[in-house]
Symmetry: D2
Subunit: 304 residues, 4 copies
């Protein structure tokens, strides 16, 4: 399969779509990213890397970090995490408090904000420097030791993230946080702020295309059935309240972030990351979703 050729075609094809999305403005820092950006990187199981456009430019991974914190929490606690978080699609917005009230502070899944806040609390109960450990873990997964937090994003989140403060305190009021809400939020905001390139993200996700094992180092990140579990969660809960649409159109497990990045994996074949900051109504990258749809149409790959 000539992946480079396909990426080049996708790059040409998405150009007219780049202006149609809406750059996230819920925190001021994110809104400054130019809408015209588009990058895509595909890393095969065998380690080959294909890139196009702005694939080497770091962007704010935002909710893609939820995938890595979940992975870390599964390593630390195994199935114990499901006592405090569900694994069902929420059917509501990613930052909704409604369901949390009806369900007594148990978030629906680890990929909505509420769930990732509980995951962060779990990690924090094991580790003092949760956010440093998460950063180290991501550096290790992607093989890039220069990955950093974006401190401006952290500050911006802290200054304006009232909704997340509400979520953390709401969960705490139900007794489902062990640590102080401020400490959990500090770590959570750091995770979301991590800046990575498409190639970094695709590399970091490759263990999911290889039954939980890093193809380059051969080390086991998670056990094979845990990798399967994570991918099932990506498919049913990974792309906000558009999981059905994403599965329908793309047909791969994916995890998106409001920074405009999406990571998707094809088991046994490749890991791919696309980035374009203009979002569709569901909060997923508009051009990014199209690019992945074209990729799976062109390559005729799909888990279905």
């Amino acid at each position: 399969m000539d992946y480079q050729q396909i990426l080049n075609e996708i790059y040409a094809k998405v150009q007219p779509c780049l202006t149609r999305g809406k750059v996230a403005d819920y925190i001021p820092e994110l809104s400054h990213v130019p809408q015209s950006k588009f990058g895509m990187a595909l890393v095969t199981h065998g380690g080959e890397v294909f890139e196009v456009g702005d694939a080497a430019e770091p962007f704010s991974i935002q909710s893609i970090s939820k995938l890595f914190t979940l992975t870390l929490a599964m390593r630390l606690e195994g199935n114990g995490i499901w006592d405090r978080i569900g694994r069902e699609p929420s059917g509501t917005a990613f930052n909704s408090l409604v369901q949390l009230e009806y369900e007594n502070g148990i978030p629906r899944n680890p990929f909505i904000n509420a769930g990732a806040i509980v995951v962060t609390d779990l990690i924090l109960s094991h580790l003092d420097n949760a956010h440093e450990t998460v950063l180290d873990f991501i550096r290790e997964l992607s093989g890039n030791k220069t990955i950093q937090f974006n401190r401006d994003i952290v500050r911006s989140e802290k200054a304006t993230g009232y909704r997340n403060v509400a979520l953390a305190n709401f969960i705490k009021s139900f007794g489902n946080l062990r640590n102080a809400p401020e400490a959990v939020l500090d770590a959570y905001f750091h995770h979301c702020s991590i800046a990575m390139t498409c190639t970094d993200v695709a590399r970091a996700g490759l263990f999911l295309a290889n039954a939980g094992r890093s193809p380059s180092t051969g080390s086991e990140i998670v056990r094979p059935n845990q990798a399967k579990h994570i991918k099932s969660l990506m498919l049913t809960c990974g792309t906000y309240d558009a999981v059905g649409d994403f599965a329908y159109r793309v047909g791969l497990p994916g995890k998106s972030g409001v920074g405009g990045g999406i990571l998707a994996v094809m088991p046994g074949q490749f890991s791919v990351c696309v980035w374009s900051p203009g979002l569709n109504q569901s909060g997923n990258s508009l051009a990014g979703t199209m690019a992945l749809e074209w990729l799976t149409t062109q390559t005729e790959v799909s888990i279905f």
Copy 2:
């Protein structure tokens, strides 16, 4: 009407009910109050005072303070407050976030927590020392300069009031708070902590039985139609999600608090406060509601 005789009869009659309610435990400090307490004070339009039981013992007024902060906000802003708060019963729990999410941060009415937090924010925009001003206003209304905050209650609320922190930050995320959530909550927790006796509260509410004017001093607290408005809000929104039941059984405008106090007024006749810490399922004083029901049955007064 021999009010003293009626109060005495009520006092005898409620004794077996005092053990049936449940003392509020959502903040630790409140849970220490003995369940056996019962006090009642009735102040007539003409200034006569009738008391029974623990009517002279200070208790935590909690949400009854919402009546006084609303009154103060109406003095400061008039009808402007209705741009930021509704005046309909919520149909849901007093600390619910669900409705707030569906209605974009506009609280249903000034007597649920969310509404009182916005009222406090309104006052804070006028006054630096909002909580001192509220305390002074309550002292003036009740004619008792010794009324104080209970600092232990304030501390207890601050240490454990995650739900209210969630509410304030949630409202802020919708842009319906002008001040910092911490500052608003500090004032709000102070208001709730104020300790008053039944007689203090009944005296403080007497202006509502007298078309907005203090019968003792003759000064106008609010205009006559504002007094009417406040009473209509008490009737439709003053007793948590049991307003229908309270109107049905008692038939007077009332405002309750989880400290176990209830203030009710009969226009043109009297203001009455009852206190008993055991609550019913709706969060209103169980014995207190019964006492008011017997009072209106016995005296055959009702606004209906």
Copy 3:
């Protein structure tokens, strides 16, 4: 008090408002009523009648019938009805199914559609010809034996009232209807279709201004405390999801219908009915609500 003078002034004053509301179109038959209609009739405790405008023209009472079916059900079953219906404001639209689902088929109060359907079911369990009995009861209350069902409205409701069919079957699915949904709906649609003049309605409601007893015949319709209970329900639940606003502005217990009629009572003084088909956003007569607000402002009467 020169009521005629006041009604005349109101009549002049509402003219410019008549075009501002929206005539109900949820059933085709109702939408044909000219928006310019306005009638008002006030009947005093002593039996004097004051009328203005279209007060003698019959209109479709719609949900005002819920007041009369509730009264009849209270006569038949007393407090037993509260096992199957709540008495709290719903906080949601009059035809909502959401709350019913969360609360397992127990309607919030007898004045929303769901509640009135259960009330109708209760009556039907006592009487074979429920709708004839209700019609007879209303004729007796108003002293007008010519009052009729509007068969076109019944047909129109039956042909298009899918929402009410949904409600009745939903309640039945929870086991809170004893009779077949079709039979209950047939009676319910008949009740809503009854055509009365403002004067008829005001006369029919006069027992509520007289502690449950008909001033003209002296017969007891309901016991005094039942009359008080009905009025408390009108105040907290009688005007759709605008009860707070109605209490605030009008300050009287009232019951409205989407035909544009509103009945309100001032205990000990009068019963008044206003009719104007243009509705406000809450489904209450726009000009009718204004007229009642002016009436209470002008006469300075209010239960508060």
Copy 4:
């Protein structure tokens, strides 16, 4: 792979679990099925059939029919169906009306009752004898011309299916049904009542494991990308409000019914149907879900 050996092992292993579920009793006819029943049939891409237990005993397919009606509707209307039905998981119970009210009568997906009712309406707009056509289609897919409706189930549904009557009328009230609710429900109840064996169902679903084409006849049932779409909908919406859990544990696209049947497909390899009437809390066959989990664990197949 020795499928027969694996099925035999599963059969032995599930025996102690058969008593732990709860046989559906929402319609009386279903509740008579013995809880001890367990059957499983696996049909490979190449046409080999493996059976165990009660695999040859017909059971009520109930919601599994939604898969076949959706397939038929996609053949008739293509992507036009998505104008009237969503394709997202609902996050709420399969027969909930709440979401339908918030989303104005557009069902979340074709696999909840509301969605299947709209699908049935779509088919009915094309065909007079919708239910006969659906039966013929299922007979053709499974290669079994003796498959029948269970008329007792149809009668039982009609006599007691108030919730579905409510759903259909509710959708109609929003204008999202073209035909009369009674006609749509008649067809819908017939579809649900179809009785098939595990082997019938597995055979009928085999086209989904073969990119939309029947492996035996070679005829195209749906286009390849439509087959992919159907499977993505099964994964995200096919097993009531336990789709996340099912994807997590089983890792295959599946569709369940309250009769206790579940159909699952492994693209390129096999179609499998399991039946056991005891349901878990989510309404999926308890032993059936376990059996599929063991199957995918044992064979190490999964789409992830």
